[in-house]
Protein backbone atom coordinates (compact mmCIF):
# COMPACT_ATOMS: atom_id res chain seq x y z
CA UNK A 1 0.00 0.00 0.00
CA UNK A 2 1.43 3.36 -1.03
CA UNK A 3 0.61 6.86 0.10
CA UNK A 4 1.23 10.32 -1.28
CA UNK A 5 2.02 13.23 0.98
CA UNK A 6 0.94 16.70 -0.08
CA UNK A 7 4.03 18.90 0.00
CA UNK A 8 2.59 22.29 -0.84
CA UNK A 9 0.00 24.74 0.33
CA UNK A 10 -2.59 24.66 3.04
CA UNK A 11 -2.73 20.89 3.10
CA UNK A 12 0.99 20.40 3.35
CA UNK A 13 1.74 17.20 5.21
CA UNK A 14 -1.59 15.55 4.48
CA UNK A 15 -1.35 11.92 3.54
CA UNK A 16 -3.44 10.36 0.77
CA UNK A 17 -3.59 6.58 0.92
CA UNK A 18 -3.64 4.85 -2.44
CA UNK A 19 -5.36 1.56 -3.23
CA UNK A 20 -3.56 -1.52 -4.52
CA UNK A 21 -4.75 -0.89 -8.02
CA UNK A 22 -3.90 1.58 -10.77
CA UNK A 23 -5.43 5.02 -10.26
CA UNK A 24 -5.74 8.17 -12.29
CA UNK A 25 -5.01 11.72 -11.17
CA UNK A 26 -6.72 14.47 -13.12
CA UNK A 27 -9.45 17.04 -13.38
CA UNK A 28 -12.02 14.47 -14.43
CA UNK A 29 -14.62 13.60 -11.83
CA UNK A 30 -13.80 9.92 -12.10
CA UNK A 31 -10.19 10.50 -11.07
CA UNK A 32 -9.10 8.96 -7.79
CA UNK A 33 -7.32 12.18 -6.91
CA UNK A 34 -9.25 15.02 -8.49
CA UNK A 35 -7.58 18.40 -8.90
CA UNK A 36 -9.59 21.34 -10.13
CA UNK A 37 -6.67 23.44 -11.37
CA UNK A 38 -6.78 24.33 -15.05
CA UNK A 39 -3.11 23.39 -15.18
CA UNK A 40 -4.19 19.78 -14.66
CA UNK A 41 -5.54 17.76 -17.57
CA UNK A 42 -8.74 15.75 -17.29
CA UNK A 43 -6.77 12.53 -17.20
CA UNK A 44 -3.35 13.81 -16.27
CA UNK A 45 -1.38 10.75 -15.19
CA UNK A 46 -1.80 7.24 -13.89
CA UNK A 47 -0.16 5.63 -10.89
CA UNK A 48 0.29 1.88 -10.84
CA UNK A 49 1.47 0.28 -7.61
CA UNK A 50 4.41 -2.14 -7.84
CA UNK A 51 6.60 -3.76 -5.23
CA UNK A 52 9.35 -1.18 -5.73
CA UNK A 53 7.17 1.88 -5.82
CA UNK A 54 4.60 3.63 -7.97
CA UNK A 55 4.82 3.50 -11.73
CA UNK A 56 3.89 6.97 -13.04
CA UNK A 57 2.67 7.38 -16.59
CA UNK A 58 1.74 10.69 -18.13
CA UNK A 59 -1.54 10.39 -20.05
CA UNK A 60 -0.70 13.01 -22.64
CA UNK A 61 -1.32 15.90 -20.28
CA UNK A 62 -0.88 19.43 -21.57
CA UNK A 63 1.52 20.60 -18.87
CA UNK A 64 3.27 17.32 -18.22
CA UNK A 65 3.97 15.23 -15.18
CA UNK A 66 7.14 16.05 -13.29
CA UNK A 67 9.08 13.57 -11.19
CA UNK A 68 11.96 14.95 -9.15
CA UNK A 69 11.93 18.17 -11.22
CA UNK A 70 12.14 16.29 -14.52
CA UNK A 71 9.23 16.14 -16.95
CA UNK A 72 8.72 12.45 -17.64
CA UNK A 73 8.58 11.12 -21.18
CA UNK A 74 8.09 7.46 -20.38
CA UNK A 75 6.81 5.37 -17.50
CA UNK A 76 8.82 6.32 -14.44
CA UNK A 77 9.14 4.54 -11.13
CA UNK A 78 8.38 6.73 -8.15
CA UNK A 79 10.27 5.46 -5.09
CA UNK A 80 9.64 6.47 -1.50
CA UNK A 81 10.85 10.02 -1.02
CA UNK A 82 10.53 10.93 -4.72
CA UNK A 83 8.64 14.10 -5.64
CA UNK A 84 5.68 14.18 -8.02
CA UNK A 85 4.54 17.53 -9.40
CA UNK A 86 1.14 17.74 -11.06
CA UNK A 87 0.03 21.21 -12.02
CA UNK A 88 0.47 23.48 -9.02
CA UNK A 89 0.69 20.70 -6.46
CA UNK A 90 3.72 18.80 -5.29
CA UNK A 91 3.42 15.34 -3.75
CA UNK A 92 5.94 13.01 -2.21
CA UNK A 93 5.71 9.24 -2.12
CA UNK A 94 5.59 8.23 1.52
CA UNK A 95 8.45 6.09 2.70
CA UNK A 96 6.64 3.70 5.02
CA UNK A 97 3.27 1.94 4.93
CA UNK A 98 0.50 3.68 6.83
CA UNK A 99 0.20 3.00 10.51
CA UNK A 100 -3.51 3.75 10.44
CA UNK A 101 -6.06 1.47 8.84
CA UNK A 102 -7.42 2.87 5.60
CA UNK A 103 -10.99 2.79 6.79
CA UNK A 104 -10.43 5.67 9.15
CA UNK A 105 -8.72 7.84 6.60
CA UNK A 106 -11.67 8.71 4.40
CA UNK A 107 -13.15 10.66 7.23
CA UNK A 108 -9.87 12.45 7.79
CA UNK A 109 -9.55 13.42 4.17
CA UNK A 110 -13.17 14.43 4.03
CA UNK A 111 -12.63 16.47 7.14
CA UNK A 112 -9.86 18.60 5.76
CA UNK A 113 -11.51 18.96 2.41
CA UNK A 114 -14.82 19.97 3.85
CA UNK A 115 -13.34 23.02 5.51
CA UNK A 116 -14.21 25.00 2.42
CA UNK A 117 -15.61 22.60 -0.12
CA UNK A 118 -19.31 22.20 -0.54
CA UNK A 119 -20.91 18.81 -0.69
CA UNK A 120 -21.63 19.23 -4.39
CA UNK A 121 -17.92 19.52 -5.02
CA UNK A 122 -17.43 16.03 -3.74
CA UNK A 123 -19.27 13.64 -6.00
CA UNK A 124 -17.99 10.56 -4.25
CA UNK A 125 -16.15 11.44 -1.13
CA UNK A 126 -15.44 7.86 -0.22
CA UNK A 127 -12.97 7.26 -3.01
CA UNK A 128 -12.27 10.65 -4.53
CA UNK A 129 -9.99 13.23 -3.04
CA UNK A 130 -10.55 16.71 -4.32
CA UNK A 131 -7.71 19.12 -3.98
CA UNK A 132 -8.62 22.63 -5.04
CA UNK A 133 -5.65 24.50 -6.39
CA UNK A 134 -7.17 27.74 -5.19
CA UNK A 135 -6.90 26.50 -1.62
CA UNK A 136 -3.25 25.74 -1.94
CA UNK A 137 -0.31 28.04 -1.87
CA UNK A 138 1.54 28.66 -5.13
CA UNK A 139 3.81 25.90 -6.40
CA UNK A 140 7.20 25.58 -4.77
CA UNK A 141 9.16 28.69 -5.57
CA UNK A 142 11.17 28.39 -8.73
CA UNK A 143 14.65 29.86 -8.73
CA UNK A 144 14.17 33.57 -8.26
CA UNK A 145 14.24 35.52 -11.49
CA UNK A 146 17.57 37.23 -11.62
CA UNK A 147 16.52 39.93 -14.02
CA UNK A 148 13.94 42.66 -13.93
CA UNK A 149 13.70 43.13 -17.67
CA UNK A 150 14.54 41.50 -20.98
CA UNK A 151 17.19 44.20 -21.45
CA UNK A 152 18.95 43.23 -18.21
CA UNK A 153 18.91 39.58 -19.14
CA UNK A 154 20.13 40.35 -22.65
CA UNK A 155 23.01 42.45 -21.38
CA UNK A 156 24.05 39.65 -19.02
CA UNK A 157 24.02 37.12 -21.87
CA UNK A 158 26.16 39.42 -24.04
CA UNK A 159 28.59 39.90 -21.16
CA UNK A 160 28.91 36.16 -20.63
CA UNK A 161 29.29 35.61 -24.36
CA UNK A 162 32.15 38.11 -24.50
CA UNK A 163 33.80 36.56 -21.45
CA UNK A 164 33.66 33.14 -23.08
CA UNK A 165 35.29 34.58 -26.21
CA UNK A 166 38.08 36.10 -24.12
CA UNK A 167 38.65 32.77 -22.41
CA UNK A 168 39.01 31.07 -25.78
CA UNK A 169 41.61 33.57 -26.99
Amino acid sequence: MHALIVNTGKHKGKRIELPDKPIIIGRDETSFIRMTSTEVSRQHCSLTPTEKGLLVRDLGSQNGTIVNSVKIETETLLRPGDKLQIGPINFELAGAPPAKPVAGLDDDIFGWLSESDTATDIPNASDTTIVKAAQLAPPPPEPKPKFKTIADEARDIIRRHRESLEEKT
Binding site: P138, E142, P145, T149, I150, A151, A154, R155, I158, R160
Partner: protein
Protein backbone atom coordinates in the same frame (compact mmCIF):
# COMPACT_ATOMS: atom_id res chain seq x y z
CA UNK B 1 -14.11 34.33 -55.29
CA UNK B 2 -10.94 32.33 -55.61
CA UNK B 3 -10.80 29.74 -58.35
CA UNK B 4 -8.73 27.40 -56.19
CA UNK B 5 -11.25 27.30 -53.38
CA UNK B 6 -10.91 23.54 -52.99
CA UNK B 7 -7.21 23.70 -52.22
CA UNK B 8 -6.23 23.64 -48.58
CA UNK B 9 -4.45 26.97 -48.05
CA UNK B 10 -2.12 25.30 -45.60
CA UNK B 11 -0.58 23.39 -48.48
CA UNK B 12 0.40 26.60 -50.23
CA UNK B 13 4.00 27.62 -49.61
CA UNK B 14 4.70 30.76 -47.64
CA UNK B 15 5.91 33.47 -49.97
CA UNK B 16 8.96 35.45 -48.91
CA UNK B 17 9.96 38.33 -51.10
CA UNK B 18 11.26 41.09 -48.85
CA UNK B 19 13.79 40.31 -46.14
CA UNK B 20 14.96 42.76 -43.51
CA UNK B 21 18.49 41.99 -42.30
CA UNK B 22 19.39 43.59 -38.98
CA UNK B 23 23.17 43.35 -38.84
CA UNK B 24 25.70 45.96 -37.72
CA UNK B 25 28.80 44.30 -39.16
CA UNK B 26 29.29 45.83 -42.60
CA UNK B 27 31.04 42.79 -44.14
CA UNK B 28 28.51 40.38 -42.70
CA UNK B 29 25.62 42.51 -43.93
CA UNK B 30 27.15 42.77 -47.42
CA UNK B 31 27.66 39.02 -47.57
CA UNK B 32 24.07 38.36 -46.54
CA UNK B 33 22.73 40.90 -49.02
CA UNK B 34 24.68 39.30 -51.88
CA UNK B 35 23.67 35.80 -50.87
CA UNK B 36 19.98 36.65 -50.54
CA UNK B 37 19.76 38.82 -53.65
CA UNK B 38 21.24 35.98 -55.65
CA UNK B 39 18.18 34.03 -54.53
CA UNK B 40 15.95 36.87 -55.81
CA UNK B 41 15.04 38.22 -52.39
CA UNK B 42 14.56 41.95 -51.97
CA UNK B 43 16.95 42.78 -49.13
CA UNK B 44 16.99 45.77 -46.79
CA UNK B 45 19.80 46.24 -44.28
CA UNK B 46 19.35 47.87 -40.88
CA UNK B 47 22.44 48.56 -38.80
CA UNK B 48 20.81 49.03 -35.41
CA UNK B 49 17.54 48.78 -33.52
CA UNK B 50 16.33 52.22 -34.59
CA UNK B 51 16.86 51.51 -38.25
CA UNK B 52 15.32 48.08 -37.81
CA UNK B 53 12.06 49.56 -36.53
CA UNK B 54 11.96 52.25 -39.22
CA UNK B 55 12.64 49.76 -42.01
CA UNK B 56 10.17 47.33 -40.55
CA UNK B 57 7.38 49.89 -40.65
CA UNK B 58 8.33 51.38 -44.02
CA UNK B 59 9.27 48.26 -45.97
CA UNK B 60 6.92 45.73 -44.38
CA UNK B 61 9.24 42.74 -44.84
CA UNK B 62 8.08 39.14 -45.15
CA UNK B 63 10.84 37.86 -42.88
CA UNK B 64 13.46 39.36 -40.56
CA UNK B 65 17.01 38.06 -40.05
CA UNK B 66 18.18 39.50 -36.77
CA UNK B 67 21.56 39.76 -35.08
CA UNK B 68 21.42 39.91 -31.28
CA UNK B 69 24.37 42.15 -30.44
CA UNK B 70 23.61 45.54 -31.88
CA UNK B 71 25.17 48.96 -31.38
CA UNK B 72 23.26 51.30 -29.07
CA UNK B 73 21.14 50.48 -26.07
CA UNK B 74 18.66 48.07 -27.60
CA UNK B 75 19.63 44.44 -28.18
CA UNK B 76 18.32 42.03 -30.79
CA UNK B 77 16.10 40.26 -28.25
CA UNK B 78 14.33 43.53 -27.50
CA UNK B 79 14.00 44.31 -31.20
CA UNK B 80 12.44 40.89 -31.69
CA UNK B 81 10.00 41.46 -28.85
CA UNK B 82 8.91 44.79 -30.31
CA UNK B 83 8.58 43.48 -33.85
CA UNK B 84 6.52 40.54 -32.66
CA UNK B 85 4.26 42.89 -30.73
CA UNK B 86 3.66 44.84 -33.92
CA UNK B 87 3.31 41.79 -36.14
CA UNK B 88 2.73 38.55 -34.30
CA UNK B 89 3.16 36.34 -37.34
CA UNK B 90 6.27 38.02 -38.74
CA UNK B 91 8.88 35.28 -39.12
CA UNK B 92 12.02 36.25 -37.19
CA UNK B 93 15.19 34.25 -37.68
CA UNK B 94 17.98 34.97 -35.20
CA UNK B 95 21.49 34.83 -36.68
CA UNK B 96 24.10 35.34 -34.01
CA UNK B 97 27.51 34.31 -32.72
CA UNK B 98 26.05 33.65 -29.26
CA UNK B 99 25.83 29.94 -28.56
CA UNK B 100 24.64 30.14 -24.94
CA UNK B 101 21.48 28.20 -24.08
CA UNK B 102 20.22 31.20 -22.13
CA UNK B 103 20.38 33.19 -25.32
CA UNK B 104 18.28 30.62 -27.19
CA UNK B 105 15.80 30.49 -24.32
CA UNK B 106 15.44 34.24 -24.21
CA UNK B 107 15.03 34.31 -27.99
CA UNK B 108 12.15 31.84 -27.69
CA UNK B 109 10.60 33.89 -24.92
CA UNK B 110 10.62 37.07 -26.99
CA UNK B 111 8.99 35.19 -29.87
CA UNK B 112 11.85 34.34 -32.24
CA UNK B 113 10.94 31.58 -34.68
CA UNK B 114 14.41 30.20 -35.49
CA UNK B 115 17.92 30.48 -34.13
CA UNK B 116 21.12 29.98 -36.12
CA UNK B 117 24.66 30.55 -34.96
CA UNK B 118 27.57 32.05 -36.86
CA UNK B 119 29.59 30.97 -38.69
CA UNK B 120 26.73 29.58 -40.74
CA UNK B 121 26.35 27.50 -43.86
CA UNK B 122 24.75 29.74 -46.51
CA UNK B 123 22.79 26.82 -47.95
CA UNK B 124 21.47 26.03 -44.49
CA UNK B 125 20.39 29.63 -44.00
CA UNK B 126 18.45 29.57 -47.27
CA UNK B 127 16.68 26.38 -46.20
CA UNK B 128 16.00 27.83 -42.77
CA UNK B 129 14.44 30.96 -44.27
CA UNK B 130 11.92 28.86 -46.19
CA UNK B 131 11.24 26.54 -43.26
CA UNK B 132 10.73 29.37 -40.79
CA UNK B 133 8.41 31.26 -43.10
CA UNK B 134 6.41 28.10 -43.73
CA UNK B 135 6.11 27.25 -40.04
CA UNK B 136 4.93 30.73 -39.14
CA UNK B 137 2.50 30.71 -42.05
CA UNK B 138 1.01 27.42 -40.87
CA UNK B 139 0.72 28.76 -37.33
CA UNK B 140 -1.07 31.86 -38.57
CA UNK B 141 -3.49 29.72 -40.59
CA UNK B 142 -4.17 27.48 -37.60
CA UNK B 143 -4.72 30.54 -35.48
CA UNK B 144 -7.20 31.98 -37.96
CA UNK B 145 -9.23 28.80 -38.07
CA UNK B 146 -9.21 27.95 -34.39
CA UNK B 147 -11.07 31.05 -33.33
CA UNK B 148 -8.32 31.88 -30.85
CA UNK B 149 -8.87 35.56 -31.50
CA UNK B 150 -11.74 35.66 -29.07
CA UNK B 151 -10.28 33.38 -26.42
CA UNK B 152 -8.69 35.07 -23.45
CA UNK B 153 -5.09 34.16 -22.66
CA UNK B 154 -4.50 32.43 -19.34
CA UNK B 155 -1.02 32.31 -17.81
CA UNK B 156 0.78 32.55 -14.50
CA UNK B 157 3.56 34.61 -13.01
CA UNK B 158 6.51 32.78 -11.47
CA UNK B 159 5.16 33.73 -8.06
CA UNK B 160 1.99 31.77 -8.80
CA UNK B 161 -0.31 34.72 -9.50
CA UNK B 162 -2.65 33.86 -12.37
CA UNK B 163 -3.76 36.16 -15.12
CA UNK B 164 -6.45 36.16 -17.77
CA UNK B 165 -6.06 38.84 -20.41
CA UNK B 166 -7.53 39.59 -23.83
CA UNK B 167 -5.95 37.89 -26.82
CA UNK B 168 -4.69 41.13 -28.33
CA UNK B 169 -2.27 41.57 -25.41
CA UNK B 170 -0.17 38.58 -26.48
CA UNK B 171 3.51 39.51 -26.55
CA UNK B 172 3.09 42.44 -24.17
CA UNK B 173 4.68 42.65 -20.76
CA UNK B 174 2.80 43.53 -17.61
CA UNK B 175 3.91 43.99 -14.04
CA UNK B 176 2.67 41.38 -11.59
CA UNK B 177 0.74 43.14 -8.83
CA UNK B 178 1.68 40.31 -6.47
CA UNK B 179 5.47 40.28 -6.73
CA UNK B 180 6.24 43.30 -8.91
CA UNK B 181 8.13 41.24 -11.51
CA UNK B 182 7.54 41.74 -15.25
CA UNK B 183 5.45 39.01 -16.87
CA UNK B 184 5.31 38.37 -20.61
CA UNK B 185 1.86 37.49 -21.96
CA UNK B 186 2.58 34.24 -23.89
CA UNK B 187 2.58 34.64 -27.64
CA UNK B 188 1.39 31.08 -28.20
CA UNK B 189 -0.60 28.46 -26.34
Amino acid sequence: MSTDGNIDPRLAPAIVHRILVVEDDRDEAAFLKTLLEREKYDVTIAKDAGQAHSMFVMRKPDLVILDLILPGTETGWEVCERLKTLERFMPVLILTAIELDDSRNLAVRVGADAYMTKPFDPAELLVQIKQTAQEVWLRSRADDSSGDEIKPVRFSCRCGKRFKVAHQHRGKTLTCPNCGEPVLVPRHE
